[in-house]
Symmetry: C2
Subunit: 436 residues, 2 copies
Amino acid sequence: MTLRFTAPVVLPCDPGCSVLRNAAVDVVDGRITWVGPVAEAPPHTGAVRALPGLLLPGLVNTHCHTPMLLLRGMGGDLPLLRWLHEVMWPAEGRLTASDVRTGMVSGCVELLRTGTTTSVEMYFFTDAVIDAVLAVGSRVLLTPGVITAPGWDRLGSWEAMRNGISRRIDRDGLRSGPSERIELGYGPHAAYTLPAEALRSVAEHARERGALLHLHLAETLDEDAALRASHGSVPAWLDQLGVFGGRVLAAHGVHLSDDDIGLLAARGAAVAHCPGSNAKLAAGVARVAALRRAGVRVGLGTDGPASGDDLDLWSQARLAGFLARVTSGDAAALTAPELLLMATRDSAAAIGRDDLGTLSPGCWADLVHVDLADPAFVDPADDGQLLSNLVWAAGARLVRDVWVAGEQVLADGEPTRVDRAAATRELREVAARLHT
Amino acid sequence: MTLRFTAPVVLPCDPGCSVLRNAAVDVVDGRITWVGPVAEAPPHTGAVRALPGLLLPGLVNTHCHTPMLLLRGMGGDLPLLRWLHEVMWPAEGRLTASDVRTGMVSGCVELLRTGTTTSVEMYFFTDAVIDAVLAVGSRVLLTPGVITAPGWDRLGSWEAMRNGISRRIDRDGLRSGPSERIELGYGPHAAYTLPAEALRSVAEHARERGALLHLHLAETLDEDAALRASHGSVPAWLDQLGVFGGRVLAAHGVHLSDDDIGLLAARGAAVAHCPGSNAKLAAGVARVAALRRAGVRVGLGTDGPASGDDLDLWSQARLAGFLARVTSGDAAALTAPELLLMATRDSAAAIGRDDLGTLSPGCWADLVHVDLADPAFVDPADDGQLLSNLVWAAGARLVRDVWVAGEQVLADGEPTRVDRAAATRELREVAARLHT
């Protein structure tokens, strides 16, 4: 199937953050075949979708536990460890597979409505999560959790969790589903919730299969005080265990020394920066400038909506900018184009996916259409002001339409495949039950 | 005229941040006469407006230069002094009164659409600002600027600026317009842009008239390095000049010592906390916890949309929470109810207006109706989760309707008195001209 999208402004999110005027994006079988000014476009005979606004690639959320939408607002004023042990883990212990599907459906809709087409998810009840993603039509890199913390043994041993992922990958391949909407990886929760042998072994399984290894790392100082007392640097200890070397995505990375950052850079590990969750739980501020300077790929994440509250990656981008500036004293730290690329291209790169987060031939046609008529844009003809207004003033609220692999999954703010009001009713029924 | 509003949830923003269920707000001649559960309401014979969502008082933005909407996104990556001297002041030098009205109209609409009914404005072309506010139907505490910085002498001497305000107050009274929509005060720009005599004299004029004195204070370390070298603490020097003592609102207050904070508390001065602007310009983070502990009234402000980008006070509240938590390491610093009160009741208190920012008898019926059907609210029956979801996940995007003094000025997101598309067209014509 051949389709041409045209728009007065197209942001391909290439390395230079170009602003293309009166441009076209050609799509064949869900993938982009050509991007550039309409005047230079190749001959086209298929349908044309002429959009009035701004077209950019779907955002990539590199760290999320989306089904936690069910728990949004619970225990919001506690530090991480108390929040996990006293509120979240007990509540999650009561979730059924059906509940997780319900939370994930509403969450995927919310992600689409903010322009996020791909999320990296660490959760449990894998079938339920996949089923929800396929129902809504978004895209996921799902790394089912592997954890041995209190209460989680109801889901089996860490070996069973690991084997469940490996069997699934060996059966379906790393990527599966229509237009490869599902990618699988491994989600060993963290150094402080797994024995050394589990960390070593899960990393080995991931590396053997070329799969993403997605773990929490250095989120707070408290979480791994005991590990630091025994082993010194936790990243260095993980490295000795053989955790690094494959595709590794470390969520948070707040408390990293210069040596730790050097290690991540040397091993090619990436970081999912989650400024909102880290700030709200008073975990701290990740050293984004130092990470980027060292050559570590840094993507953006919202974290789960129980701590991150909304799934809006634009507000995370703005917060990343605010925090980079106040911690450095540099008013040019993380400019609008840098933040836009961080939410798209850099986030895709952080998870090892050069076929997402950018509009160029060969990439999936995951597209976001933003309303350009809103006064958030005061002088749309000026490239610099357009990018500034998009990132700092427009963001999620102006997302109108979204396509995944060329299929429209959001039309004028509403999901095309599921009924949002019905999904909300189901969400609230489950949430109310969790409170009783 | 007698009108009753009913809603399943009413947040009066009283000191305890109560959540009223199935409640009513009675309004006579624009002012609230009764608030409480419908079951306990007094007999009522007038019209009833039964709302399906959540009703709360209009937010109060304590520091803004709203017409700078015209300049949104210009020079966004510069520190304060370069941004002012190289970009803003030259651009503002080209603004006509008509331009300022155009920027203010679109800005007032944007304020209403985020649920802000009152803004404290420091700007010039007073007639144009007032005209815009009355056209849209919002409410303003306007403190026309008094400044002697480069280029500003086109508007006359500081004495002329001061006299212009005094004459207007002496003629019209402090408050004027339909339902007292206009309050006037004095806006001496800052210690570093005015001679000592001007600061002393403007404060005297304000105090004599019971008017608000609204100035920038301690925004950056650079701005008043010369003053500090000569006089030590700038707040202490201002105090010697007699600046404090009346109604004083200090915008920003980022770089304040313990002694400075003690002085503000002793003199009853308030602070307009503008976390977004301070972060974006890398000015720093105000010591909100210390200010509140000392008993200083702290309100929230967006600052002008050239540095603050949007006029969304909800996102400022969230950012205030994030910054309070990362700077203190306390995950319970500034909870959702505290942030909601900061944007409403505390902001009204900071400008000396106990008839705004809260729903209680005698207050103006400035009301905001928020969509409660959105999945931002996952368990609306739970008071704690409702408040958390409102502040951290819902905010501006769910504002549907707004009333000022009982008159509906926003209906389903659109202003009732002006045409938003036409206002945007005018805004863009002026913005495009400013770039050429």
